[in-house]
Amino acid sequence: MNITETSNGAIAIVAIEGRLDALSAPELRNNRSVIDPEKTVVLNLEKLDFMNSTGLGAIVGALNQKLQPDFGIVLSCMNDDVRSVFEITNVQKLFHIFDDTAAAVEFATTRQGAHT
């Protein structure tokens, strides 16, 4: 799995590429923006090929650490396979999910602005 990080204003955009499973989940759990409670993160999942429940747990765990559980982690661009894992487990209820990253960043920026 590869993680690349960019920023858009106060928002960190963390792109995950490859497979998010028990082998790779620690890398996401230890990402500095993910573990920063005050940092709002857009997780770009466009190049995430595969995710199991351990990977899902890492994303929920990231949300758990945020001061703002409503928009601390915002998701974008997941493929059908990854989306199915969110849907089967009902975990999609915990997140705002967007089909494109720009919309996710705009949402996160607006929410963060409204909160400060």
Partner: protein
């Protein structure tokens, strides 16, 4: 007539990935060329995900009980069905636990729910000192 392929793997997390990727490749081989691409993709992903969940569970529990050991993953091809069994030597466990409450922001406990949802058949049995999970999906 059926064909059987068996993997014997060390109970380490890196081999859970190997097992799931093998499952995906085997599913792709047996699903046939005549299916729609989206149906093929869905079948292969379901099989890969189910094996990933079962083997990850096995390996995680082996590490939890400090019992590094081998586990066996057996794939059986039948004309209309693909079956996989995961056998380990961990302590017995219950498959009757309900899925975690979403509102508690759970970080684990979804594996069996996923398997039940995406596979056509799922059984668990205890055979001597071994756990055996068997999962099937119709082609």
């Amino acid at each position: 007539m059926s064909s059987i392929i068996t993997l014997t793997l060390p109970g380490e997390i890196m081999f859970a990935r190997l097992a799931s990727q093998t499952a995906s490749s085997l599913a792709d081989l047996v699903i046939g060329e005549n299916r729609e691409e989206s149906a093929k993709r869905k079948f292969c992903h379901a099989f890969e995900l189910a094996v990933s969940e079962a083997v990850t569970n096995s390996v995680t529990h082996a590490e939890e009980f400090d019992a590094p050991q081998m586990l066996t993953v057996t794939f059986e091809f039948e004309p209309r069905q693909l079956t996989v069994s995961v056998r380990d030597a961990n302590p017995p466990f219950s498959i009757d636990k309900s899925a975690p409450d979403i509102e508690s922001y759970p970080v684990h406990g979804f594996g069996l729910k996923i398997i039940r949802e995406i596979m056509d058949q799922f059984t668990y049995r205890r055979d001597g000192d071994a756990n055996i999970i068997t999962m099937s999906k119709s082609l």
